[in-house]
Amino acid sequence: MDPFRQLDFLGIEDEFSEEECMVRDTVRGWVSERFLPVVAEHFEAGTFPSELVGELAELGVFGPNLPEEYGCAGLNNVAYGLICQELERGDSGLRSFVSVQGSLVMYPIFAYGSDEQKSHWLPRLASGETIGCFGLTEPDFGSNPGGMLTRARRDKGDWIIDGRKMWITNGTNSHLAVVWARADDAIRGFLVPTDRPGFSAPEQKRKWSLRASNTSELVLDGVRVPEDAMLPKAKGLAGPLGCLTQARYGIAWGAVGAAMACLDEAIRYSKERIVFDKPLAGFQLPQKKMADVATDITLAQLMALRVGRMKDKGTLEHQHVSMAKRNNVDMALRAARTLRDILGANGITLEYHTGRHMCNLESVYTYEGTHDIHTLAIGQALTGIAAFR
């Protein structure tokens, strides 16, 4: 098949540096050659392609925007965004894996960890030798993580952690869990090796979304970790929320990639599919759908690029990321639904990518702050009034 043709209606390519384009093209090539041929099988089986973790590490996509001294690439945030775009062009599950490893596991260690924690864990996570997960959400506390019930108490200089986490990406496959728990003074983050007694991570099955990704519960039953397992510089909910801002930033780009994949597929398909003796692409209704999606993707690309440049300048705040995540994921989900229809019955099979993206994006719409919670975050920034309490 022809290589993927990226929509770049307004020549946004001009706004990227040569290095940013090289990063994008490198990841794009890997996704096309190595990931797309196997994704449908994994999606159907409900498995993450763990056999590709070594290649992902070699490519350098784990924590690529963290410094070189930890074995990372030291890229800027726009390049990181483009990596997420290309990974999610493959599958939201692939981008999720990388977001969790980089933004939700490596980032908190980098931002809130001690020097020892950083030098011990970051090179192992960058090389893929250690896989991590991020445990914040609980069965009864999703949008309101501040209500969490998981507790950490001191015992002879150690910490003992008890509680249950839900919907944890990579949970079953990980060696290290970043677990957020309520300690005496505040919510704290803990680095918990998953082979500790009392720790288990049963997989959550029967999902119809993000199937090529592992999702699991974390059960912590009196798990003992040493004193230095706590992240010293994270105190209160700002700790986990700071990580989520990093990951959501990547999602804002990732969603663009998923939508681009769907549009590319719809354009090709509609040009080849003959209905009523002419190509489907020659009718006005499909053209309107594709024109709308192309416009929406272009706007989302510009928003992602703008927040990326702000992040590199150091002026990006969480409400800006809320706007980009909310807009771009919503855009991608609507695009996938609209374009799935253009593929007709073929659109409901795994032979085509769009239906899979459509199912995946339902998770992306909900996780990392639901669409509505981001609405309220923007509302609060506009009015100064928090409407979510």
Binding site: E18, E19, M22, T26, G29, L59, G60, A73, L75
Partner: protein, 249 residues
């Protein structure tokens, strides 16, 4: 060991070419890449360096934008890049290209020069062998296996009649064929490292073509296919068509 890989920036092979002024390619909207066989030459250069030590230089004649292809080779592990700037690189003939490369290679010094078997844009398959002649280096073309030892090497090349094995002395020019290796991918760390590696740019010395393209035509469109029938019922019609229409049976 001083190893030089010569590469060319060419339009991507999925290009649907448009012709302007009857003899040149319309460059608007054209995407470029390192010619397929030159990527194999770069990989071969890196492998020789990994086995025997030394330094890999990538050399190209091309527009300023060819920095992209050079950076890609640096990201994969080349040490040094040289760009001889020429906006009309695509209309150079093989002789003027080889002559210019020869002068630069003599200035840089080389034990081993690697080129692609052919550039995928012009399909001349001439520059590598001409370059060897001009440099007075040993030459093996269309190489599918390569082994270097201290002073020379062994190579196998694909000939019409089968595989030919050669031994050669250094310095040498090797032109690389498809099965020689599988080019590596640049990693993100390599891309960052490439930023700090030297990329020398200079204007390409004037050199006139001995042969000029005076007209360029795209190949005639392929005739439409025809479905002769479905399932087993189609077999007879197909055999008939192959016999009487296509006359291949």
């Amino acid at each position: 060991m001083k190893i030089i890989a010569c590469i060319k920036r060419v339009p991507t092979t999925d290009l649907e070419p448009k012709i302007v002024d009857g003899k040149s390619l319309d460059p608007t909207g054209v995407a470029f890449e390192t010619s397929f066989y030159d990527q194999i030459a770069v990989e071969a250069a890196l492998q020789v360096k990994e086995q025997h030590g030394g330094e890999v230089t990538v050399l190209t004649i091309g527009p300023k934008e060819a920095q992209k292809e050079l950076r890609d080779a640096l990201a994969k592990g080349a040490d040094h890049a040289v760009l001889l700037k020429d906006d009309r690189w695509m209309s150079r003939d093989a002789h003027s290209t080889a002559r210019t490369l020869q002068q630069k290679i003599q200035e840089l010094g080389a034990d081993l020069v690697l080129t692609g078997r052919v550039a995928t844009d012009r399909d001349n398959a001439s520059v590598g062998v001409m370059l060897a002649t001009l440099l007075d280096f040993a030459c093996v073309s269309d190489v599918v296996e390569l082994e270097i030892d201290g002073r020379g090497g062994k190579a196998r090349r694909e000939a019409d009649s089968g595989l030919e094995s050669y031994s050669f002395s250094l310095p040498a020019v090797i032109t690389c064929q498809k099965d020689l290796n599988e080019p590596r991918r640049a990693g993100l760390k390599g891309i960052m490292a490439a930023k700090k590696k030297p990329l020398d740019e200079s204007d390409c010395p004037e050199s006139s073509n001995q042969a000029e393209v005076c007209q360029l035509d795209t190949p005639p469109p392929r005739p439409q296919g025809r479905i002769v029938g479905e399932g087993a019922a189609a077999v007879e019609a197909l055999i008939d068509a192959l016999h009487n229409e296509a006359k291949v049976l």
